[in-house]
Amino acid sequence: MNPFVGDQLANLHRLAPEVVLSVFGILVMIADPFVGAARKRVLGWVAFAGAVLALASVHIANHFPGPAYSDLIRVDSFSMFAHVIILVAVALAILGSLDYLDQQHIQRGEYYALVLFAAAGMGILAGANELVTAFVGLEMSSIASYVLVGFRRRSPASNEASLKYFLLGSFATAFFLYGVAMIYGATGTTRIDAVQAALEKIITADQHEPALAVLSLALIFVGLGFKVVVAPFQVYAPDVYEGAPTPVTALLASAPKAATFALMIRIFYVAFSPLTGLWFWLICVVAVLTMLVGNLAALVQTNVKRMLAYSSIAHAGYILVAFAASTSLGVAAVLFYLAAYIFMKVGAFLIVTHLGQQDEKRVSIQDYSGLASKQPVVAACFSLFLLSLLGLPATGGFLGKFFAFQSALIVQRRSLTLLVVIAAINSVIGAYYYLRVIITMYFQAPSRDYTPSRVAPAVAIALAIAAAGTLYLGILPSRVLDLAQAAADSLFSH
């Protein structure tokens, strides 16, 4: 075979998950006009099939490790691990959307197409080895999510959220782009590993960090910090998470976070590794701020979606604790945390989806009173997710925190030890608001005026998967932990 063609074929294989996602996205778009309004649900199942196939095709990509398309994309264990996390979250979110869209009377094909395109963008983010490619991935996932957030067209809250997200998100991506321009100015390249080599050369020659690179570090951190929602860039998140359709919130709170963290690890641990001394402090300070803001604000929320939004901010803070460790163990801990996090977070938001009712009327914590006596299984599942978010043993959330703290403490550095103590105290603050929901569900008398609808089969499947994942990662984490460690090592082996 012609070597060029062979090369292109290999590249296509390396991009298999993105290809599958895009093809199914286009398929949904094309099929949309031909499917009657009453049967749009079928498109949802097509999209779900796409997500599952993409998940399977990760296996294909995994057989072609290495650089793709002139090293714009890297296929390594790290990228594959991130892909699996993202795709599981996307698949669960699609399952949660099917009945929700019917209930809100917004069942449309483009919804699913957008979800798939966003997922493809996130996949690119996770694998990008070049900053402009990363930017393309960032925009792909962002622009699709702007539309998704505003998908409840008749709801002012949803519109407001969409606009807010769009304006602030555009700013953030602009920051990222500026950062990329600066680093190009400083090093003459935008390839992540080349940036690292160039920076090292410059630093050994000049004996100090180039100002442009430092500026670029800050700008890129703003752009990515906005996406993973860390303080002080968190202001938009509660409003957007509250206004967005709940399955979209489930998606926003999980998959883009995982994808962006993956990119952030690649940029900070590889490209900016010569500047570790600088960003270490940046991450520490931001981690403390993020945990405090997230947890303290969550304490006073009465709306479940807002409460979970602040909780996801707090969780970004815990992830940063492992991030700050600046070791391969820390990367593994971040990846494991993300794996545990998507199950519990998507699970929690799917429960909110299920209980929301038409126009999302039932989203205040008080609406959940006495849920345990009406739908004991739903209440038990929600408790499981909340306890996992809280970090109780035998759940994935606990081990996520455990490995995060462990990776930071093992460095035996005083600042990191202090950071872990702050994180630990924060998780006790967090206990209060998670337990408050459990109190409402179990200890309070049921509200009479409202009976939640039956759990739809698709939602039940999604919840079962999320619950099983949470417990599996909490009790038998060895396998996933090994994969996370292998993924982290692959990042450093180039």
């Binding site: 306890l387 043993p393 035998a394 606990f398 462990q406 403490l409 030890t417 209060y432 179990y442 932990l481």
Partner: protein
Amino acid sequence: MGTNPYLLTVITFLPLLSVAALLMLRSDDHVWIRRIALAASLAEFAVSLLLLRGFSSTNPEYQFTEYRAWIGDAIHYHLGVDGISLFLVLLTTFLTPIAILCSWESIRENVKGFFVSLLVIETAMIGVFVSLDLFLFFVFWELTLIPMYFMIGMWGHERRIYAAVKFILYTMFGSILMLVAILWLYGKAGTFDLPDILSLMQSGQLSFPPRTELLMFGAFFLAFAIKVPLFPLHTWLPDAHTEAPTAGSVILAGVMLKLGTYGILRFCLPLFPEAAHRMAQPIAVLAIIGIVYGALVATVQTDLKRLVAYTSVSHLGFVVLGIFAFNTTAIQGAIYQMLNHGVSTGALFLGVGMLYDRRHTHEIKEYGGLATPMPILMSFFLFIALSSLALPPLNGFIGEFLILIGTFQSHHAWASWAASGAVLSAIYLLWAYQRVALGEVTVEKNKTLPDASIRERVILVTMAVAIIFMGIASPLFTRRMEASVNNIIEQTSAPRNASRPAAVPLARPIAGHVVTLPAHPVLATLAEKQVRP
């Protein structure tokens, strides 16, 4: 017949298995839920008795050990019991069927959830006692919280939500810092395995600078002290006890508080011996304050259940004091006192619960002269109160006495102060009994109260038998503890500390005498003291 190599796993997870069985029942099938829960807990007790048969009392090491890889290279599924945890496991399996029996009629709502919680707690508590891996220990430690939280919050009394939240936040705060300390320890030792860490320390490969050791000790101790609870960290306890349903109080007082004292004994002492010695004085002072303060506050309570709750503060103060006296007699006494407290205070809560089932109040002034309508119940109540206030030859006496004697060997002042607590306990318990049981029946409603039912008599007789048995057969217990206790003391007064071991050889023969002459420990000790100088 050799012992089953999986005995501890079976004992730990049998309750959880019965939970699975319970979950399969219809939730309105109350009769069978109760029966199965009771049968499961009785079977569990029977299985746990097998431990006694295979246990070698001369072996100070862990027995029935199980060791399997779990997560990565560092975390293992490592179980084992020694003379210290053995009886605490038995206490747990003994009290659980009692707790189930006492909830037979008083729990009417969500019966399934209640018994599921109770059995999950049993698994978690046994897990804490048998774990030899710090990670595994922490998992079980935290798992005890949630079911107890539900138990207080769902089946408790008026202020149950407040009490449940207070209980869980307090304990979580302590344990999260312990988690950090455990991780930090791992960073130093490279393993979570307790025996491995101890042997690393013994061989000198692992040591901590004094300041760090103190911090680590503090992190562990805070978690345990909150659980015990040690004054001034006790404020969650009266609320939790008062608001919990009877079974919750029995389990909470009977076993859960011992998780704290057990933790101190198992982890704080051997892992951080020097810090333990350095902090012994202030901790003993807190323990003594707890003894006296708990007793005084109990005296002035108007709520019967709250009164019993404060007695726990006082009695657990004795246990902590005994532990920090660092000699065999005192520590044996401390362990024995843990068991006694579990039985006696458990029984007191059972009695209070029986009164509550009849009148739905804990106010002492609502009672009075109850001995007239309920002679049987009230005689048992008196008997239990006497056991709790340490009347010889009942169980409470042995524990308190061993603690006081052991403490006296090394610290006269501590023992003298603590002894006042023994006097005060007589005051508050007898006075409470007088107000509840003696005199004329003051409230009209009380005249027609039914006496103890068959079920209640079964419970009360069982507890009374346990009280008498532990009072006269203490050698059966202390003999099995001795080797392990000496082992702990040896680890604690490890090579570096030469200032204190003098107390140990003096104390040992005394414990031996108590062992041979259980009915007259006073004489034995006096004789010993006459001989020694």
